[in-house]
Symmetry: none
Subunit: 215 residues, 4 copies
DNA sequence: CATGAATGAGTCTTCATTCAT
DNA sequence: CATGAATGAAGACTCATTCAT
């Protein structure tokens, strides 16, 4: 069993009511889906990787798609949204006086979340275009709820005249693009050359602060 | 035949040395791959959609993967890289005195390119993680060549002290993230609510100009 | 189910660890291969004849060629070589004083073996030219081992001055040709007219005895 | 074009009324059939090897099987039988006084014939079991006619009391087996070790002379 | 005549899923 | 609960053959 696999198993270990075999299946499926894509992964492959019989998969997950949803949905429903909410509360409770501090805290926090859930997020991003349920769930759990939350925050800092008075959607778009670009560079492109995370994060924050400063 | 299909056929009509059937196949495959993904699309499906026998596909494209590469490779090799190069030359030849003008021109030009090649670019983005050849081609044709060109341009404007003196890679990252975020919002997220393209483009440019202005 | 098929099934019934379906598959494949040749037999045909789903064949035999080897290899590895060895020991242990007695015993024994394994031997003979693995196995199991054994026997009778003092390879060639010609006539050519086996065997033995008598 | 191929083309060059392309097709098909078997050879393969378009094959030979028969039938109808007859006449005209001389002449003559037509004879042997037409033709052209001729000859020498007074069929069987075994050893088995043709031929003749001598 | 694009039935093989053990 | 043999529909791909050029 590879190191990667072990990490994946740990991801599902906190889940309750899951037998050892179920965790194995989820871990194996996650690894395979992330690597080859949902459609190109066979259930027999997952079974072999998980060390269970093919039938066992279907005892726990009615269909292959069910298995996908069982991996990806909780990530949105149970993990992502609540964590975000909780974190956001923390963020606000701390009452970061400056938008810059809020930004720095968020970036750090999301970076950690990403790091820990990379394979599942990969699957989510790759499969969303092909599965209507996923798209709906995403819009419901992430889209609407998270967006609403962010709007409040943006408006909070706009009221304090720390950031430019554009529509909050636009501010979120610009901020999110910049942040996602940072993470994408780190995980998709960077590996090769010298990537100094801290420095790049700081540059990104300064860029955002300047770009969003009130005119 | 749907309107979408007709548009796709037009995309391949300019290609020379392709029979009518080949163009049908490419259009059908492009539509299907973009819609369901490469792995989830069957060759029989493509054949039906293209109005040809399944065998006909394999007369022209040795394997299903060959068909994918025949759609996506020219997009990189023949279309993307050269167009970018040519456009960039135009950009520089025009000697946009201000970085802002360059930015505006680029954004407009790329938006048009995207619009015209959306389905193929979709496929490219979705399939790159699963096909080593695509990744290699992308790095070779887009990654290295385009990046090099952009570096020169960034350094040109840095020398003119119009933009901040960060490493050109960082400037490119920030600019590209913001631009891609703009396009992504337009194509993936926006459709629903009122999206005023011109305004958003202008806001994005202002954001970039401020974010990248020399301190 | 034809009588032939039943006979074939009996051939595989002694094999252990084979399910009923596997035996059906082997019997059906043997019959089909013998009748139409390996390349001209389709797996769907075998499945139908065996009364199983096509997928079932591939659960037990990874490829069609695997199925061929599973029929033909054991015939060489497990059956032919050992039986020959055992029989030859019996032959020598009986210490047939006269070469003629040895010849008669061998002919009778091999005739029985042939009779029982005719279809598989047909396949073996027909497919050997097209499958390198078969050729190699044949050389290893039959060619070298059997030939070595025969040489010893020939030399034994040469030492006793019962047969002519030619190179043992030549004696084996002449004897084998004559024996195989006998069997070939029986199975390939004869069926039609009156074929008195006993008489022909005796004539063949007399022919060999005279042909190989010391000058 | 390989040396083998050139030889094969020469084989068909004497045929009249055949265009260059037809000869190419026959040569290519002969080589391919002999190498991989009829069923495992595709017409496209033959077309490529012959340097013609696929359609060209079907212009000259209605079906693939037709092509097989066009290669193999003349070998029996035009070449084999007549040659045998003519040769046999020569043999008898020479009035070989001794059976031994006849045997030696025949062996030499057939060896040459085999040598020159090896690939086609290979195909004939391999495909006869699977094609009823071939079997019929063989029986008609070779079986009956040749057998009848040989019978006369055997009886001729029996009358002269040079060979044993067994049924002529039996004498032919014994002689043919021995001769075929000689050729088989030469072409199928021998290549490896030192095979002294002349010596082996002589030994074979002596073996036959002794085996068939009147008691 | 020769071509080679087109065909669609057919090939081997894989798949998700079921069910008796 | 877990298993893995069994399934048959579907997958990618090949084939012999046809026909317009």
């Amino acid at each position: 069993m590879s190191k990667q696999e072990l990490n994946l198993k740990e991801l599902f270990i906190q889940e309750d009511g899951l037998t050892e075999k179920q965790k194995n299946i989820l871990a194996a499926a996650t690894e395979a889906f992330a690597e080859k894509g949902f459609a190109a992964t066979s259930t027999s492959e997952i079974a072999k990787k998980a060390g269970v019989a093919e039938g066992t998969i279907f005892r726990h997950y009615k269909t292959k798609k069910d298995l996908l949803l069982s991996i990806v949905s909780p990530m949105m429903v149970k993990l992502m949204a609540p964590i975000i909410m909780k974190d956001l509360n923390k963020v606000l409770d701390h009452r970061y006086e400056k938008f810059e501090d809020f930004l720095r805290a968020m970036l750090e926090n999301r970076a950690k979340f990403l790091q820990e859930n990379l394979p599942i997020i990969r699957i989510l991003i790759q499969e969303i275009p092909f599965h209507a349920e996923l798209k709906e769930q995403f819009i419901e759990h992430i889209g609407i709820r998270v967006l609403t939350r962010f709007k409040e925050i943006i408006e909070y800092y706009q009221a304090k005249e720390q950031i430019i008075d554009l529509p909050s959607e636009t501010v979120i778009r610009l901020t999110a693009s910049t942040a996602l670009g940072l993470f994408a560079t780190k995980y998709v492109i960077a590996p090769e050359d010298g990537w100094d995370e801290c420095v790049e994060v700081e540059r990104t924050i300064q860029f955002l602060m300047c770009g969003l400063s009130p005119r």
